[in-house]
């Protein structure tokens, strides 16, 4: 998931709007980035989540997350060729950070639903609930990226 992501950022949700993209409605969340682990931009980013309400119609997609302003996550993001930036695996790429003042808060990723694709093999896998501190997550990301960089050289 780390290598598959085009950006991994810690950010807070600031606001949202929904709009059609072709036949599909996406809810676009503006997030304010406070830390970049991989790629991304320093200021605001736009994250599209499948589903939403527009033009008196609503579309829902099972497993798609919803965010509230102020929610904070470590986002594992992927930008498609068309430029749409989404969370990897709907909720697979979301590590929630609880409100508080902790310098090193605990993040949680909940288990997600249907089979998902593993990196590399493209094999369907499930993911389990993960709990770890932001510092540990930061270290894992850095180590994985370093290893991937070494392998690529």
């Amino acid at each position: 998931m780390i290598t598959k992501s085009t950006a991994i950022v810690r950010a807070k949700v600031t606001n949202s709007y929904a709009a059609y993209s072709g036949r599909l409605i996406y809810t676009h969340y503006a997030i304010q980035v406070s830390e970049r682990f991989k790629g991304g931009s320093q200021g605001a980013m736009d994250v599209a989540v499948p589903g939403g309400a527009a033009n008196h119609q609503r579309q829902t997609v099972e497993g798609a997350p919803t965010f509230q302003p102020g929610d904070e996550y470590v986002f594992f993001l992927w930008t498609s060729r068309s430029g749409l930036t989404q969370v990897i695996g709907l909720t697979q790429g979301l590590f929630a950070i609880p409100p508080g003042t902790s310098a090193d808060p605990v993040t949680t990723r909940r288990a997600s639903g249907d089979l998902m694709l593993a990196h590399g093999s493209a094999a369907p896998v499930k993911n389990e609930t993960l709990v770890m501190k932001v510092s540990e997550l930061r270290s894992r990301i850095a180590a994985t990226l370093a290893a991937a960089g070494s392998a690529a050289q």
Binding site: P50, W78, A111, L117
Partner: protein, 855 residues
């Protein structure tokens, strides 16, 4: 809708709403407190032509290579639609419409399949459920949120799991996603709507009763529930209601039906086939991926925290579980369950697998992994053990204290095996075949996996060779094929030319490949009724997206020119009901395998007739159709021809006579036939009484009566059987022509006699249980291959048709019937019906049933 408006609506609708029997649908509740009234998201049948929702596939094809093809993908989507269309208890019909432009924007609700590379990594396929923000009222006063357009989004790379496109998993996943598009959410019963990890459906068993019940609750035919029972009750924990608990009615052998509890803990499982059931309740797994029900303000109702799984009346010991008898039309109430809270569930995403030892040709503990787990009960009954491995898809597998299969199995011997757990299941003699339910007991909790293990009495089939015969047919040779094996070329079943011959080690079947296109490489797979296929030994590789050890043999279609089509007329007014003539070139049109589509849900095909290289069809254009061009596509087998933006929908022409339907002039007759009357219904059919003129295939016919809304005409005696073009002039202007089917007249009854000899007559009347031979003339001989087209009534009540055969007299057929609770009388009319039209009746005497003996 705002909360205030929603609450106002709730006040009106509370007495009219649907009782909240289940919500593995997309559900809204009118209130946030009990009693809960459910409003479902579903298609509005009144907004669909002929209550039919059409599935269109975008003409922006996915990327394919190797043995994958877009035609193969289309065949799988078409097959998935056919599965849902076949749910007999549902009033909703599901049609496959072929191709559409990605930019098409029809006004009629529908389902689209699109291919995208916009899907984020980690998602195989997903379905977008689209509905209006405002609820509407059904004819019965209940309210619902009508679907506008639901979209199945599939990976543009069809080789990735659940592909490749020929794979059974591609088909079962398409069935699953289409279920979402019809309004169903996840269940946990191994049925089509179960999550992928615990789903155990097959190509030949694609839907279960749980799926049918779910669909019937949304779109059930009038009186559908009479053939089923229901179970209801309440689930509580520490005195509080348990919300979104999954309650499952589970037969010892057979498929379960389930529901979820409402926020007040109440539940009702509907659509339960009659039989004996255990009942258990389990919490939603952490990965349920449900769209939770919402209240009037849009707030979601949360599922309760984890709790223990228990069998009714409250035990973890399946031996202590109570059996519930379910009968048709009978509601079993007050099956209440009390559960204890738990911090977490011990298991929820268990994958089962077994190993096939190719050297010894047996399911064993070595060899190729196979999922789901199979046990050959005929072999393992000898060895004494069936071996099954269970593994949590998300990591380490909790080791149960005991494990068993329902249906007469002793406890398994359990052995941890790395992250997995091996179960050695004692096999009783005559264990039989079919899916079996796995029960894992963890001491203070348990886990039930319906259909977790499949018993067979044979090993998986294999195709060792394909040989093309001079007539174009193909002979498949292999092992473990049998008379019920079905041979598929990608997603299409091949028709059998010469039935199976041989034995389990070496047998063959000769089939006709579906029409294909030059250069196509179709993967040929044999499917057996027991759930095994010639891909079973590669099921683990397919599930993981790995290279196959035994790739299926390939049938390479011979070179052929590209298929082409043209259509006339190329312009249709909104609201029209009209004939179209599609001319095909370089296509093989096979009855039953042709899909004709007009690229928009606003144009519906209501009848198709094949004639040489022509396809005649009647189409209905919605009165509110979006104006503009749309694609036309013809798909025959794997041959796909499309003309982009070839048909133009133009504004309605109010001057035109508008034919809406043509029926027999006699309401009791369902077909049109020579010598009979036809009635055209519609508007503007005559400018004045008696001004209409009608032709059939250009031949003027006698018009007995005509008015603006009705025209009665006579079908000439001796008129050719088959499709005919019907033209109408209202006295001033021609209507758009349509096609009508002219059938053979109904048969005539020559005689009725007991199977044992003469009679019945006044001295020897017929009676309950009598077997009669009815001799008829003029019977359409094609009914011999489809007896369902024929029925026999006595006093208007259907009798059992036990057979139809020719006789030694040419043109005379014998229909044998068994009288079942016939109406009594001296002259009870007996009639023979074919395709809904009846013979002239004859009368026979039927005696009163004998009085019951005094007790």
């Amino acid at each position: 809708m705002t909360r205030a408006r929603m609450l106002a609506a709730a006040a009106v609708a509370a007495m009219l709403g649907t009782p909240a029997e289940a919500y593995y649908h997309y559900t809204h509740f009118l209130t946030i407190n009990s009693p809960f009234t459910a409003l479902y998201e579903k298609f509005d049948l009144t907004a669909l032509p002929n209550k039919t929702v059409t599935v269109y596939v975008t003409d922006a094809a996915p990327s394919t290579s190797g043995t994958d093809s877009f035609a193969s993908v289309l065949s799988q989507v078409k097959a998935a639609a056919a599965q849902w269309n076949a749910v007999s208890v549902s009033d909703l019909r599901v049609a496959f419409g072929g191709l559409e432009a990605a930019t098409q924007a029809p006004n009629t609700p529908g389902i689209d399949v699109i291919f995208t590379d916009d899907m984020a990594p980690g998602v195989l396929e997903q379905t977008w459920i689209g509905h209006t923000d405002t609820a509407v009222s059904a004819a019965d006063g209940s309210k619902f949120f009508p679907f506008v357009r639901n979209i199945m989004e599939m990976n543009v790379n069809v080789e990735a799991p659940p592909g490749p496109s020929y794979a059974e998993t591609y088909f079962t996943t398409a069935v699953h996603e289409m279920g979402h598009a019809l309004g169903l959410q996840h269940t946990f019963t191994a049925s089509a709507m179960s999550q992928g990890v615990i789903r155990n459906t097959t190509r030949l068993r694609a839907l279960g009763p749980d799926d049918a019940a779910g669909l019937a609750l949304l779109y059930g035919k009038s009186g559908w529930s009479a053939a089923f029972g229901s179970i209801s009750g309440t689930v509580t924990s520490l005195g509080q209601p348990v919300s979104m608990a999954s309650v499952v009615a589970l037969p010892a052998t057979g498929q379960p039906v389930s529901t979820l509890t409402n926020p007040d803990g109440t539940y009702e499982i509907d659509g339960v086939p009659p039989g004996q059931y255990l009942l258990y309740v389990h919490p939603l797994p952490p990965d349920a991926d449900m769209w939770n029900p919402v209240g009037p303000g849009g707030q979601a109702f949360a599922a309760s925290n984890p709790f223990e799984t228990v069998f009714y009346p409250g035990t973890l010991d399946v031996e202590q579980a109570a059996t519930i008898s379910v009968r048709a039309g009978v509601a079993v109430a007050n099956r209440n369950l009390t559960v204890e809270p738990r911090a977490a569930v011990p298991a929820y995403d268990i994958v089962t697998f077994s190993y096939f030892d190719s050297a010894n040709q047996t399911y064993s503990w070595v060899g190729s992994p196979v999922t789901p787990a199979f046990i050959n009960s005929s072999q393992n009954a000898t060895s004494g053990w069936g071996t099954v491995t269970i593994q949590s898809a998300s990591g380490n597998t909790a080791v149960p204290q005991s494990a068993t299969l329902l249906g007469g199995f002793a406890d398994a011997y359990i052995e941890p095996d790395g992250q997995a757990v091996a179960l050695y299941i004692p096999m009783p003699l005559f264990a039989g075949a079919g899916p079996r339910h796995l029960v894992l007991n963890y001491g203070n909790d348990m886990y039930v996996l319906p259909d977790g293990v499949v018993l067979t009495t044979n090993n998986p089939p294999a195709i060792s060779a394909l040989a093309t015969n001079v007539d174009g047919s193909v002979t498949a040779t292999g092992s473990n094929l049998d008379a019920n094996s079905q041979i598929f070329f990608d997603g299409l079943e091949a028709s059998v030319v010469t039935p199976f011959a041989g034995d389990s080690t070496n047998g063959k079947v000769r089939v006709t490949p579906p029409p294909g296109f030059g250069g196509q490489n179709a993967s040929v797979v044999a499917y057996n009724q027991d759930g095994q296929s010639s891909l079973t030994l590669d099921s683990w590789n397919l599930a993981n997206g790995w290279a196959l050890q035994n790739p299926p043999p390939i049938y390479a279609y011979p070179a052929s020119a590209a298929p082409l089509i043209s259509v006339s007329p190329a312009q249709l007014p909104a609201g029209a009901f009209a004939k179209v003539d599609v001319t095909t070139t370089n296509m093989t049109l096979v009855d039953g395998q042709v899909t004709l589509g007009f690229g928009t849900d606003d144009i519906t095909v209501s009848g198709v007739w094949l004639s040489g290289n022509h396809i005649l069809a009647n189409v209905q254009v919605a009165s509110n159709a979006a104006l503009g061009a749309s694609d036309i596509s013809v798909i025959s087998g794997f041959q796909v021809a499309m003309q982009s933006q070839a048909v133009l929908t133009v504004p309605a022409n109010p001057q035109l006579p508008a034919m809406a339907s043509v029926t027999n002039g006699l309401p009791s007759q369902a077909t049109l036939y020579p010598g009979g009357y036809g009635t055209i219904w519609g508007s503007n059919l005559a400018v004045a009484i008696g001004t209409s003129a009608v032709t059939l295939n250009g031949v003027p016919v006698v018009v007995a009566y005509s008015s603006a809304n009705q025209v009665n005409f006579v079908i000439p005696s001796g008129f050719a059987i088959g499709p005919a073009t019907l033209n109408l002039n209202n006295g001033v202007v021609d209507a758009l022509p349509i096609v009508v089917e002219i059938d053979l007249p109904p048969p005539a009854i020559a005689s009725v006699a007991f199977v044992t000899g003469p009679g019945p007559d006044a001295d020897d009347p017929a009676a309950d249980g009598s077997v009669l031979n009815v001799l008829v003339t003029g019977l359409d001989p094609t009914v011999l291959s489809n007896l369902a087209r024929v029925s026999v009534t006595l006093g208007g009540i259907g009798m059992t048709v036990s057979g139809i055969s020719t006789t030694t007299t040419a043109g005379v057929y014998q229909i044998q019937i068994v009288l079942v609770q016939p109406p009594a009388g001296d002259n009870v009319p007996l009639a023979v019906w074919v395709d809904g039209s009846s013979s002239a009746p004859v009368s026979i005497p039927v005696q009163q049933p004998a009085p019951a003996p005094a007790s």
